[in-house]
Subunit: 635 residues, 2 copies
Amino acid sequence: MSVTATDAAALCRVLDGEHHEVKERIRAILAERFAPVSDLTRDEYREQVMGWMRMLVETGETKTMFPREYGGGGDVGGGIAAFELLGHADLSLLVKCGVQFGLFGGAVQHLGNEQHRRELLPQVMDLELIGCFAMTETGHGSNVQALGTVARYEDGELVVDTPDDDARKDYIGNAARDGRLAVVFAQLEVGGEEHGVHALLVPLRDEQGRVLDGVEIEDCGEKLGLEGVDNGRIRFEGVRVPRTALLDRYAKIDEQGDYQSPIENKNRRFFTTIGTLIQGRVSVGGAAISATKSALTIAIRYALRRRQFGPPDEPELPLLDYRVHQRRLLPALATTYALHFAQRELVGELHRSLTADEHPEREQRQLEALAAGVKATATWHATATIQTCREACGGAGYLAENRFKALKADTDVFTTFEGDNTVLLQLVGKELLTDYKQRFGDLSGLEMVRFVGEQAYETVVERTLARQVATRIADALPGGDGADDEGDLDDPELQRELFCWREEHMLSGLARRLRSGLDDGREQFEVFNECQDHLLAAAQAHVDRQVLDAFASGIDACDEGPLRDLLDRLCRLHALATIERERGWYFEHGRMTGPRSKAVTRAVNRLCAELRDDAELLVDAFGIPDAALAAPIAL
Amino acid sequence: MSVTATDAAALCRVLDGEHHEVKERIRAILAERFAPVSDLTRDEYREQVMGWMRMLVETGETKTMFPREYGGGGDVGGGIAAFELLGHADLSLLVKCGVQFGLFGGAVQHLGNEQHRRELLPQVMDLELIGCFAMTETGHGSNVQALGTVARYEDGELVVDTPDDDARKDYIGNAARDGRLAVVFAQLEVGGEEHGVHALLVPLRDEQGRVLDGVEIEDCGEKLGLEGVDNGRIRFEGVRVPRTALLDRYAKIDEQGDYQSPIENKNRRFFTTIGTLIQGRVSVGGAAISATKSALTIAIRYALRRRQFGPPDEPELPLLDYRVHQRRLLPALATTYALHFAQRELVGELHRSLTADEHPEREQRQLEALAAGVKATATWHATATIQTCREACGGAGYLAENRFKALKADTDVFTTFEGDNTVLLQLVGKELLTDYKQRFGDLSGLEMVRFVGEQAYETVVERTLARQVATRIADALPGGDGADDEGDLDDPELQRELFCWREEHMLSGLARRLRSGLDDGREQFEVFNECQDHLLAAAQAHVDRQVLDAFASGIDACDEGPLRDLLDRLCRLHALATIERERGWYFEHGRMTGPRSKAVTRAVNRLCAELRDDAELLVDAFGIPDAALAAPIAL
């Protein structure tokens, strides 16, 4: 049953959910006031991006995500959802907005005090003050706690210094050209005591744009993509700022020059500080999904028009009639839908966390893990899918006008910035282990890990019911090799059980290995490193289950009817394609058989063939304005 | 046992094999006369590439691959091997050389007559005459037989026309700026009869570079990469060229205006014509491998220097000490070595085919399939590995100076030009089926496919011995889950058997499915389309086995000693990583067990750890001159 007659606009509304209105406003802005550029020099491109930002300020949309009391729209979720759509237009614009409003503005909002907010946020929203988020250094990326920049308290002031080349701030957006004020992350020293990494405001340029004394800025030069963003390197030499420049939500220096913090544990203070900056990470995941949607829209429309080969003496066939072409594009489309719903749920959670009166620590940590997992998964999916889409368009895909040049180059860094994906998945994995610990009491350090090992094992053993359901997969075996025995594979309950079982089994196995390594008396670091691949796989299994659940929840909220049926089918394709990808693991753990595995492949093929005629509707529903999509082969 | 003390130069010599001398000459040229460029306008870059080409002409190296009787060096293999090294320097230079010497010069050499060669080849080698290879059209890429351009014989001349937009020649290198003469592929019509696609010489510009009457040329504009190559679109309107412009090795028009060909079958004539152009495809595979080597050299050197995280209170550790980082880079390095040897063997075969007095049809077809398979595998491996290497270098990898920008963008089109990889693997698959047919007699068409089905099935059934060896894998089962039971997995014989078994089983299964589909009376095209994913998988399994064999042969030719031991270990890593990747399939077909599969993963981990200290030597042995590598993070 095909639903091609149904309006793509209705499906677009389902996808947008509660943010439909703000998204429609942004689509209208893109349709009327945007056109992609090409072949500009770097300077021209940077100027163009600033021009677009000023245009967005004029529309008032840049205020949406900020609190009402400072002149904002009071809708964080809406602001982030709207921001994602810029990913269809120009990713330099998106990233520069992200630096200005999300990172710089976000740091002021979440790490500063009332005075910082009242003074700065209105200027941030209006672009009167352009800022930087100066965290990363040349020698210190993922390991933020090891930053080298120093802020030393002396005589009522903070003195900022870059001690060596490794401590040079690097890749900083807005630094090379436009930034006047930076949020600088530095090792805070007060009265000879080191307090770890803190954020403070350091001016970079005066109102005329001249670089200030003691500050040295270098342009990062040509990059792989995002050439419209002015990334730069910054060094500080004895730059003095007032004591009040410290963004002091979690730690103050009082008038007597004494350091005070409501969070005693240095480590915990650090992670609390960093945790408030989650917004940037969430936005990158959303941007990656938008770029993926653009790529799929172009490749699927092209695949429906471009003909090549075919039966003898007949017209050539559209590419999407070929099985391999379907397999390259349609499971990727299904997973993009799944990630869309996961991202929407994440934005909702973030909105609730930022607007709630209080947000318990465990929920905050789980939100951070969800953000990390979705970001890593969505950005790797973007890199792989955009590449597949480019190839699916052949030579036409290699022409810049068809957009893959920008889509590939500009999204490439997403996998490693705002948290390297590998490090983010480790964070997810460690949160999974910590969560076990939290459930069973506050054991610390090495003891925790041992305990986790036992608990995880027992927890899994106890989940007999879930296991029994999962065991159906192995038990309900069909007859012969190649027979038509897809049976209950189409059952979403069974698919979910397979996801859950993989998640739980991987985690318990991991915990067991860690415990056994530590029991042997080996160094904790060495034991963890030996299990690093296992840790990442467990984290991925966890995220996969979360993403599937988000897709299912999204469908549950949808009215009965052909659109819901279509989404159901798409969700089954996503689930089965994931199971097919992981079938080696299921076999390894006795939850897959040869005939069953072949049936999974057949089911994926069948679902692809069934969805072929809905493919155009499914990409139309992304609602990408023609002006933003712009690719001649897809209009 | 580490061999870090051994000289990388010795290993480089092993890799270069018989082409060491010519490769060393090119390395010296790159070291002394080359430096990568960045931040040029498109026009400046194109001019720079022409400058480099003139520099290469000065050195005399552009003559190497052409026959001695026309002033060449008479060494096709050496010429192609040397050409590959340009892939370390600048891929626009490599591709523009490929168009000029490989495609344009190659077409003149292999499709023209003595007069064409004597007149044109000296000018081609000296860049006095710059040419185009005008095959692809806007609407016709992979399906060359469906080209729309027409060459009609009229009154002793050939009249060339572009009937519609789809028939416009597109993406043609050297067309937008430099090309004066084009080899144009067109549908030949003589006396009202259509003879299919033929190649003829059509002038595009006069000596002053003015476009000639009846020719219309458009610049393709901004591309994803290879911006130093002037790709363009060409239309012809009533362009008249003499009868002798036909490249007439396989078909002539005589003075009376009669069409004559030594190959009667139109289809066979077409494929014979196209088959002679294999050189371009071979060169692309080589270029992809060179680019992969550059990326791995940069990422591995960086991973040995860049430190991040580590045990508490100790210095941070180099990235390559982490298991996941090893797993990302070292199996890819092993596979790059495997592909290096496969490419070397392919170049050797090509050299023999072009210098032999005769080359039997079956051998020619097998050479074409090998070229297609290695090209597809090497270019996909390049795309994936360069991406992984970029990510492994984090933010530093995103800076253009560290080369990934160019490596990614310029190699991207390799997967779809000179034969789309998906189409090429189909060609390999069809050759596998045809080969069965050839072995058992000349049955044609549908009957052939049915016969193939039976034969393939029986062939496999008969190979009991091979199966028995392979069955060891399943039978020799170790004890419990997680036990240290890698056993004979390290045995290259056993690894090879697994590759062979997959190859044969996939092919026989494919033949069986095709036969059964046709037995049901369904359309041949539909049946093939339903098995398309299976066909590609069978082709990949075949290529994988060929690549493994080439690696093993390369090692066999190496003297006993630590270098050979090192290559042995690398070959085992390549083999086991491939088996690990395909473990789902082995499970499906009863040739893998849970404990065995886990042992494969452990063996891959162990080999990675063992090879960690040899990684620098292994990339140094690629012998990439610093001037060409150029990435500051890797020098």
